[in-house]
Symmetry: C2
Subunit: 318 residues, 2 copies
């Protein structure tokens, strides 16, 4: 294989295929499940891509692994760095560990214990900071100066987008004739990747699924102007972030529409997944289920179950 170079433009079909080949020895080829009772309930023919069964419990392992491998020499020399405390922090820690590199993760001091434990489980080196975005950025910059580590953005990065695209690429390898694909959207790494993969390898309408109370992607998409997210407390906590600047134009060009889900719909989607599909997903993944339940779904429909990481200790059996 020729020397790998970091992507500086929208990933091509070949870039996505190269990413898939690059990460294949490390990530899981996640199963595509069918669930007869959900098909009946939601009146369609559904193919569920199980990224909650991906390494680290979310699709994020794909983009992180791809980006770490693209920057392998730098990663091995000085490590990689993020101030994302969600699934990306765990995924980057895991990806770095796969090649024996260090990962530095800046987390707010009030981060949930489960998230801290997860990052540490995968070998990430945690630096705590005050719980403000400013403190996170300042602390990350300090860690970068001290270590020389490479900052890897969780979604606003073409290598990340190419990595996330491999989930939909795999789904379309198995089911090239999907008519629509429902994909949750937060920062837009997964959605931009899905839309690109479908533009090269599929014929589906790609539908972004976003909480109504975190509707920045919807606003950006319908207005044509990038619009940042306002602070919100949606139960789909993975979808609070604003669209990335690299992600937005890809989504604008290749996504059919963004559909909005109320908090009640997301809750219902999550419950329905547990009841009829028996897969344990995080609330963000409930948006795709909820959208598929509400919308018309002629022919064959893909749904990306984006992740399964959430605190379950509050759910008691008595």
């Amino acid at each position: 294989m020729s020397r790998v170079t970091s992507l500086t433009a929208v990933p091509s079909a070949a870039d996505i295929q190269a990413a898939a080949e690059r990460i294949a020895p490390y990530v899981s080829r996640t199963p595509v499940l069918k669930a007869p009772r959900f098909n009946h309930l939601a009146n369609g023919d559904f193919y569920l891509k199980c990224e909650h069964l991906q390494m680290t419990g979310a699709f994020k392992a794909r983009g992180a692994m791809n980006t770490v491998l693209v920057h392998k020499e730098e990663a091995l020399e000085n490590g990689v760095l993020t101030h994302s405390s969600g699934n990306h922090g765990a995924a980057l820690s895991w990806a770095a560990a796969q090649i024996g590199a260090k990962a530095y993760v800046v987390m707010p001091s009030n981060a949930p214990k489960a998230k801290i434990a997860s990052v540490e489980y995968y070998g990430g080196i945690v630096t705590f900071c005050e719980p403000t975005l400013e403190a996170r950025e300042t602390t990350a910059e300090q860690v970068r100066k001290n270590t020389g580590a490479l900052l890897i953005h969780p979604y606003d990065n073409y290598n990340i987008i190419a990595g996330q695209a491999t989930a939909t690429y795999e789904l379309l390898q198995e089911h090239p004739d999907l008519d629509q694909i429902f994909v949750p959207v937060g920062g837009g790494g997964l959605l931009a990747g899905a839309a690109l993969a479908n533009s090269y390898f599929g014929k589906a309408k790609v539908i972004g699924c976003e909480p109504t109370i975190a509707n920045d992607a919807f606003k950006s998409f319908t207005s044509g102007t990038w619009t940042p997210a306002k602070s919100t407390d949606t139960i789909a906590d993975g979808l609070k972030t604003s669209l990335g600047h690299k992600n937005f134009p890809i989504i604008q060009e290749h996504v059919d529409r963004i559909t909005l889900l109320s908090e009640d719909e997301i809750q219902e989607g999550w419950h329905t997944c547990l009841e009829t599909i028996k897969q344990f997903i995080e609330p963000s993944a409930g948006t795709g289920i909820a959208a598929a339940m509400r919308e018309e779904t002629p022919g064959k429909t893909g749904i990306i179950l984006c992740g399964g990481n959430m605190d379950v200790r509050g759910f008691t059996l008595r």
Copy 2:
């Protein structure tokens, strides 16, 4: 195929293979999952047989389908009948519907709505009665007299046992070299089937997993005398029943031991499954996970995730 006859003795290897062939057009060949994070946590090499992904959400579909097919003519003429309000009621309703037969299910008037809805979803005809065992048996007898329907016991029946055995038969087809298999035990249909299948097709130690506060199988097994269950409110609600009389001698002969799980351990097993395996199981299935976490597991270990049916509406996301 020669005319099918109802089993009147402990199923042979050929009986289990015949059951597997008979039910194959109807049931799911459930996947066997691996979960790296659970392997790490529980320090072993685990193979998870996903019966919560079986038709009707539990292994019960296997035994019910086998028994309905064995009694196909009678079932088509007068229907089948049960007063089990749990997974067997739904499974029998589903199995009868597969061949166009009627299923009558006697349920206590205070049964959870989710269970009633499930039986009705699969086409069962529900008759309500007072919430006592006596009323259930009396009402079932009335329905039987009125309809001529065939009463099918949920576990104390060789055709049921042969059907349930197919889950472990499939697991052993894929992994004949398992060293131990953890199997939840309530009435003993699944455990007797697993132990028989392993005696013919495997070399594993088969370990029954039972709640400490519903330890009738443990008592029967260790004393050698059939001991009925006392009333108990274990969170593993599928495991409250006493061992069947046909099941007990099979378990006595072919099971290595019965291990007991505290309520806290079962809760921890259930949480751990959600966290590290991302499969949505019912509490009963948590016993197998909990046992695998506590016990020594050299070599390769199978765990039967017996079902995934429980009321999830109390789990809210905020």
